[in-house]
């Protein structure tokens, strides 16, 4: 049975991976045919399917990180994720569904720290070879506005 502690531990490792710039490991939290999307609450309420990031494979997440490292131009910045307690909607031995709130503070090279995003992860977890993986993570932001640009994943 997947329990709340396992999900919370998963999310803690997920946050640490992004916030410590181990971004090459970030796709490993997902299944090969995962869905990952960043959107906001108004699109969700209106049933609008687009995301500012829209991936339907782990390979697309790897491409995101490769682009961040090799192609995209942006000022040096990092995130601090605070991920709340998962609200478990359903759980079995090999699958779970949960909603978990997050706050992401963006720290710029200049030292400026701002709340960059808050919202809820709408998650579907599965066990793959005994390991918890995200089959789906939709980051539903509370604000419709993204400041400047989003390059590091939420």
């Amino acid at each position: 049975m997947i329990d709340i502690v396992q999900l919370a531990a998963f999310n803690a490792a997920y946050a640490h991976t992004i916030d410590s710039d181990a971004l090459e490991q970030w796709p490993d939290f997902f299944t090969a045919d995962c869905h990952y999307r960043i959107t906001h609450i108004e699109n969700e309420q209106q049933g609008l399917p687009a995301g500012i990031v829209y991936a339907d494979s782990r390979a697309m997440l790897e491409d995101r990180i490769a682009a961040l490292r090799e192609a995209n131009i942006f000022e040096r910045q990092r995130y601090r994720h605070l991920i709340g307690m998962p609200m478990v909607e359903s759980a079995s031995a090999d699958a779970a569904q949960a909603q978990t709130p997050f706050v992401v503070v963006r720290i710029m090279a200049t030292g400026q720290s701002d709340v960059f995003a808050t919202g809820v992860y709408r998650d579907r977890f599965v066990k793959v070879d005994g390991q918890l993986r995200l089959a789906e993570r939709v980051a539903v932001c509370d604000s419709t506005v993204t400041d400047t640009l989003l390059v590091i994943p939420l």
Partner: protein, 409 residues
């Protein structure tokens, strides 16, 4: 009218005073002379207010606007400002309304922006009320003229602005029709807060010179740009432009196959090239068309990735970029999926557009101590007309040509 305070170095368009991006008096004049002047401001898509009573709130520059469809199926727009004390009339971004009522003192308006009701107009129990001479017809928010072209809803505060087709000119009209030739459906909306004056973003859109230099996604992943056939069209006013490029279909086939073969053994190849797997929807072979309408509208076709963008000033040194992603109403589910994936290219996290959200801020911060100095906009010479190559700043100069015309500068 107050004298313009920024000194232009001459009649030419190749030197742009940096003070234009930070001067409060200039920003104030832009609101009156441009956004409330002889221009058409993009307000929304026709498809976003499809039914009688459907409305959206938006802005013409800084001025808040309500745009709404009435029972006669016509679209109306009026300032989102109660005629009483100036409060916003409509607070939501969109909705459906029979009438509009200001929350402050319950003055009410019909969908055409006419003041129809004043609470306690006759007073209460014989006390108070408006003077007998008060005439509701003489009060109301300012109304905008409306023009709908290919499903794009434009509004103007000016009675003198030319009809929309004359305003756009035949070449721009044709390029809008090329993309908006059948009903569209919105598939998402996103707003990007830009840390810079609105003009820096509009210039960026028109700047075909920067594209392959700042945006390294295509080159890094060696996504074959194939033949770079294309060009820049600038209309007679200078204010509108189209930048386009096309691929040679014969060359495309072998190159993409070649790329797929190498994809697995090269680090800098997309691991999932389905991101860019598109379908042909234009016979002219144009795979990229960026079109702008003065002052702050953009229509974008990048392969199958379609969007409109609305640039709005938010104070002097910040702006808002509203992205509306759309597909066609008759898209198959497969086509819709292609668009959703290709939208990774654009928007606030777009592989080939995210940098545009930051680079205006780099300029804004860079020019902080240089108000008396000027930008150099001389790539491709000093003219502001159409051009075959894209290593030019001709459409940036076109923007300033239109800007100086409207500003009287």
């Amino acid at each position: 009218m107050q004298e313009h305070t920024i000194r232009w170095p001459g009649e030419g368009l190749t030197r742009i005073p940096y003070a234009l991006y930070s001067d409060a008096a200039t920003a104030e004049q832009e609101q009156a002379r441009i956004f409330r002047g002889n221009v058409w401001n993009f307000l929304c898509l026709d498809a976003e207010i499809a039914e009688p009573g459907s409305y959206r709130t938006t802005f013409a520059g800084a001025t808040p606007v309500v745009v709404v469809r009435d029972a006669d199926d016509e679209i109306y727009a009026f300032e989102n400002r109660c005629a009483h004390r100036g409060a916003l009339i409509a607070l939501e971004k969109s909705g459906k309304a029979e009438t509009f009522q200001c929350v402050y003192h319950a003055w009410s308006y019909n969908r055409q922006g006419d003041l129809t009701g004043v609470a306690f107009e006759k007073g209460v129990k014989g006390q108070g009320g408006m003077p007998p001479g008060f005439c509701k017809e003489e009060h109301g928010p300012r109304k905008l003229r409306i023009a709908v072209f290919c499903g794009l809803v434009f509004g103007s505060f000016s009675d003198d602005v030319p009809d929309i087709e004359d305003y756009l000119g035949p070449e721009i009209c044709a390029r809008i029709q090329r993309v908006l030739h059948k009903p569209v459906e919105v598939i998402g909306r996103f707003t990007q807060a830009l840390p810079n004056n609105w003009k820096l973003y509009v210039e960026n859109v028109k700047d075909s010179y920067h594209a392959s230099l700042l945006h390294m996604f295509f080159t890094t992943f060696e996504i074959n740009r194939l033949s770079q056939k294309g060009g820049v069209i600038v209309d007679a006013s200078g204010g509108h432009h189209v930048s386009f490029s096309m691929i040679d279909p014969a060359a495309a086939d072998s190159s993409y196959k070649d790329q797929a073969i190498r994809a697995d053994n090269d680090r800098y190849r997309l691991k999932d090239p389905s991101l860019l797997a598109g379908f042909k929807e234009h016979d002219d072979g144009i795979t990229l068309q960026i079109l702008s309408v003065f002052p702050g509208f953009v229509l974008q076709q990048i392969q199958n990735c379609l969007a409109v963008r609305q640039v709005l000033p938010k104070g002097i040194e910040s702006a808002e970029l509203n992205w509306t992603y759309f597909g066609y109403a008759d898209d198959t589910p497969e086509q819709r999926k292609v668009r959703l994936k290709q939208h990774n290219l654009v928007g606030p996290a777009g592989f080939i557009s995210m940098e545009d959200g930051a680079v205006g801020g780099f300029v804004q911060r860079g020019i902080a101590g240089a108000a008396e100095m000027e930008a150099v906009v001389e790539m491709g010479g000093d003219h502001a007309g159409s051009s075959e190559g894209r290593a030019t700043e001709t459409s940036v100069r076109g923007f300033w040509k239109a800007y100086r015309h409207h500003m009287g500068a």
